[in-house]
Amino acid sequence: MAGKLVALDEASDLVPDGASVAMGGLMMTGAPLGFCRELIKAGRRDLDLIVMSGGMNVDWLVAAGCVRRLLTAIVSFEGFGLAPNFRRAAEAGAIAIEDWSELTMLCALRARFAGVPFMPTRAGLGTDVPAHLPERMWEMTDERSGRPFVACAPLAPEFAVVHVHEADELGNARVLPKLTWIDGELVKAAERTIVTAERIVRTETFREAPERTSFPAYAVDHVVHAPRGAWPVAMPPDYDYDGEFHRRYSRAAADPAEFRRLFEDEVAPFPFGPPEWMR
């Protein structure tokens, strides 16, 4: 097995324009924001971005113009308010949005790794969710019970990008204290997986405690050393979410000039200029 290490500033080369990219994390925890910044710096565009429960990751990539289509169940800064660029891009019609729910997305990922044409669920019945995503899910009736279900078609992201605490150059990776959430399903379903890691450690570290490994080397294609690679969201127990940044970002979004300054100084230069709603 050759080493899988890729430098952070070369990691965006792994993902071509137009790719479908699923990102891990849960709201304000564990999302690969450092990798998002690299995608922005490289001017990646027309991405199909898959983020089940997101916030700053979605807002950055949408603000920078990298996203063509967003597949999501929720995008929010929670107690810090709405994600401003996600909101404005949606209202301006600048991105296509697929409104999934968490469990239908999970079922679609499971259909992919179960190798079946759909995964049935009770989730979404009686709501408007399936009708807006006819290619992704549909209502069906089970012949034996006569009951209705929502059938979720397989979802196979080209890339999963997940952030972990520790990885080795072979691709073994672990999240401490094991808050993997959706990341585990993304790695299983994706065609290729990119792990960004707070620390690169020796393989011996995994052999000493194999029960703590989150993702096996054989399922990981690339490893990127990305210290503080979740900032400004949290990577517990190493660091908390940066509430001060979330507050300043939300405040700045009310003033295009102020937002441009903040984004270019603290995130990355806009590859295609500031978004139309920030001009």
């Binding site: 709405l82 469990l103 969710v129 009951r147 959430w181 979410y241």
Partner: protein
Amino acid sequence: MSGGAFTTEEVMVCALAGELTDETRVFNGAASFIPIAAFMLARATHAPGLTWAAGSIGVDAHPRAIPESTISDRLFEGATMLQSSPSDVWAYAGTAKLDTFCFRGVQFDPYGNVNNTVIGPYEEPRVRLPGGGGMADLGCFIAVSLLWSTTHDTRTFVERLDHRTCLGWGDGGDHRDRLGLPGGPRVCVTDLAVLDFHPVSRRMRLRSLHPGVSLEQVVAATGFELVIEGEPPPTPSPTPEQLALIRQLDPTMMRARG
């Protein structure tokens, strides 16, 4: 609301806590500040056996305060287990081992269906909202749904939703039965009143009025006809013991953010 002694949010916390029992096994999603305060209050008072999976992850957590993210590890302090995979939570909720969840949205209709996706036409929304997260899922099968809203007005309580993100009682009557779904919303706690649902029609019914709120005020603030049976009683005011506990459990007043 009468100033001084207690706030509207504190009335709401107590009203939600009143729906929880010693047997409740509750979990929470994003931005759920009033519900979390209610879970901790119930556990500290009449429901010591209540189990709360903080942020759907930290089982039986005892945090020192409520953070800005209610799915944050800051909530997991003292937990006996971290349920770190959605496979845990969805399976336990699917078999009613976890049995209670609180939902909020930007619009509610007479049958307790909830919208948290868009205001205006779906394809060209006037306001884009965060989305439903797990609402479209849990609304279909969680055993006990509790709704809350800090904006009881005619923009929020509407005859027709712009998008049905979360299933309540659907089209009313036996709609959930016809879909083969258990559960259904039990109450909706607002900043003006506690509403429940008529057992046959499943339309929202006025159960109690918060202290200082009049019947006319609630009727005028609701964009559809509420079921009103007789003279609604007042929602209980928080007791001094409850208030002291709420302020201790939520020292940074996150409950004011809803």
